[in-house]
């Protein structure tokens, strides 16, 4: 009996021993998808492809290099703010969270984020190390509230093989893309007649974000002041009507896929079911990797360009970005130091993240040869200059995006008139903003 007791105590102590090592645990919550089966144990970042592959491998590599820091990752369904809200409300938020720049004001304005100036300074990371667009997006009331990780935008991902079939290729091997609205319709028709497939592959079902992002771009291209007052949207002008009419005409003339949701649209382009995918920077890495394999719809036939300038007033594209924030909570100095180390690691690996297709936020990465030599980057480089976000003082940008997306979708699918949809969108957004 005595032996049994001693044995049990010894086993118990052994089981508890890892706790005595004073490991610091960082709870990291992120979107970007789950890919444990493929990358669960991988630490070779350069071999990883796509957002999920690269971020998973990056965290694995950090954990391997820092055995005293345990990073516990929870993956949430995009964008994950419901979970975060519930966690913040119950005071159980994780230590590090991925967040869109467009969502940060909501949390910062309620004191739910920790300023990171000291944490970054301790790691010798300076505000001037980042691009102006990135650092401005994460700076609120003179303090930095996120480690800027990337900037992203919507792009024209082009299937050159189908464009060739439609006679829409230049001699230099680049596709012929529209430079105004009329050209989009004529080229779209030419493409459709030649291939029997839709010119554009758009995400128009079960989705609101894509509608809103393209609409913002078209509004900004008209130099519209629709959010001049951040607490009030103005969609009553001709600019909003022109933007929505253009979006609707594309669908009405059969130049776009209609019923595809996000995953279906991503795979439709990949399978060669349309000429140009209107989708984000994050797909460049995956589509480019596919184009380097043989015997598929994109083999040796993929290129990517910014959304063309359809309105002559201004060359501009709506952009947003991802950052890492630290939600409000009690944390020891050791834990904050560990988070600092993780952020330094992310900062040092900004190039690896930019392989996804996102634009890097660290100036020296943008200037580096290795970034410049990544495929297609020179074709989309101008976004660094033409990218524009909504004013950061506009709160609830995700909820606004949902409302605008839903109303635009109603007009495009013919359930509402264009005037009616814009009027309702304006009423709903302003009702939301007035009641914050």
């Amino acid at each position: 009996m005595k032996k049994l007791l001693l044995g049990t105590t010894a086993i118990g102590l052994l089981a508890l021993s890892p706790l005595a090592n004073a490991n610091t645990t960082i709870e990291l919550q992120r979107f970007f998808g789950a890919c444990e089966a493929e990358y669960g144990k991988a630490t070779d970042v350069s071999a990883a492809v796509g957002e999920c592959g690269i971020i998973t491998t990056l965290v694995n590599k950090f954990a391997a290099e820092n055995p005293d820091i345990n990073v516990k990752v929870s993956t949430v369904e995009w964008p994950g703010y419901d979970q975060l809200n519930a966690q913040l409300a119950s005071r159980s938020a994780p230590d590090v969270v991925s967040m869109h720049y467009s969502a940060m004001s909501d949390y910062q304005s309620r004191g739910l984020l920790v300023p990171l100036d000291k944490l970054l300074k301790d790691q010798s990371i300076k505000a001037t190390d980042f691009t102006d667009a990135a650092i401005t997006s994460v700076t609120k009331e003179g303090k930095i509230y996120a480690l800027p990780f990337d900037n992203w935008t919507m792009l024209f991902h082009v299937n050159n093989n189908l464009m060739k079939k439609a006679g829409l290729m230049k001699a230099d091997g680049n596709p012929i893309l529209p430079t105004n609205r009329d050209e989009l319709f004529s080229q779209g028709k030419q493409f459709k007649d030649a291939t029997g497939k839709p010119y554009l592959v758009q995400v128009l079902a079960n989705e609101t974000a894509t509608y809103a992002r393209i609409f913002y771009t078209l509004m900004m291209q008209q130099n519209s002041k629709f959010f001049d007052d951040p607490s009030h949207i103005d969609l009553s002008g001709q600019d909003a009507k022109a933007a929505l009419t253009f979006m609707k005409d594309i669908v009405d003339q059969g130049l776009s896929t209609k019923n595809l949701d996000y995953p279906a649209a991503v795979s439709a382009f990949s399978n060669g079911d349309g000429g140009i995918a209107v989708n984000g920077t994050w797909l460049i890495g995956s589509y480019d990797a596919q184009s380097k394999e043989s015997n598929n719809a994109l083999s040796n036939g993929y290129s990517v360009f910014p959304v063309p300038q359809f309105f002559k007033q201004k060359d501009v594209t709506y952009t947003d970005g991802h950052g890492w924030v630290v939600p409000r909570g009690d944390r020891s100095d050791e834990k904050m130091a560990a988070i600092g180390k993780l952020f330094k690691f992310f900062y040092d690996n900004n190039y690896e993240w930019s392989r996804t297709g996102h634009l890097p936020t660290v100036k020296k990465v943008i200037a580096s040869n290795e970034f410049k030599s990544l495929p297609h980057r020179s074709d989309i480089a101008k976004i660094a200059k033409t990218g524009q976000a909504l004013p950061s003082a506009v709160l609830r940008q995700f909820a606004i995006q949902d409302i605008i997306g839903e109303e635009l979708s109603s007009a495009i699918s013919g359930n509402k008139s264009i005037d009616d949809a814009l009027k309702t969108a304006q009423y709903r957004v302003n009702d939301l903003l007035e009641n914050i």
Binding site: N85, E207, K258, N259, A264, I436
Partner: protein, 293 residues
Amino acid sequence: MAESYRRSRWTNGLFVVPYLSVFLTLLVFPLGWGIWLSLNKVDLFGGERFIGLKNYARVLSDPIFGQAVKNTLIFVGVSVPTLVILGLFLALALNKTSKGSSFLRGLFFASSILSVTIVTLIWRIVFIPNDGLMSLIFEFFGWQPIGFLSTTGWSLFSVGVATVWWCIGLPMMLFLAALQQIPKDLYEAAALDNASRWRVLTRITLPSIKSTIMLVAIIQVVMQFQLFGQAQLMTNGGPAGSSRPIVMYIYEVGFLRWDIGLGAAASQILFLIILCAAMLQYWVSTRKEEVDA
């Protein structure tokens, strides 16, 4: 001498304390709190300010809420009778002791154990354009494809089909249990009287399981009014809000817009609607019994 067991003592009340404490903390308190929140201007992270019935006025004048109520009523009005009739039909067909019927009972009940995520994934594969099952069938017959998840009218229908498939197990099992309670001698007497199958069904079977039909209907009304997961995952309430149920409106207002006061007001209205629907159903059934008597 032993004390009479009939004598009432206050300590006997202690037996209900565990239940009462759970009932009070998990049901009564949240209900009261919800009503209080609905009278305040409050977001997810505080800022409480009493505003009386303003949230109710906002909800009731919101056309999106009106549309959500209409969608939910249509959904309940179609899905509940379908679940009751189909559940009863399956129970009648499988009320046998053969191995085949036991297997089929298990098969029909199997969908109930799946989570809403799996159910919607399965039905997405059926309804999605291009590679979906329905799309392939339409293509085979050369018909024009239908955007089941992205067309007004069809989107709520598709959510309904997935819901009936998912929820059919419970009504079927409840009806089976009720059918097996009916005394066999009633059927023997009917057989001796040479009663037709229809007469047996309408004069013996259905009257004997009347209370179960009521129970199933009330359970389903309460459940289907709370439609959320299927609509959110399959159609996201679209297109044009045509498949947005009330609970999704509450979720959007509370969690996406952080307007907890408004969400709480909408929740109280949903609570009243469900209560009224269940009471109405109960009243209709008991009134009929009185008339019969």
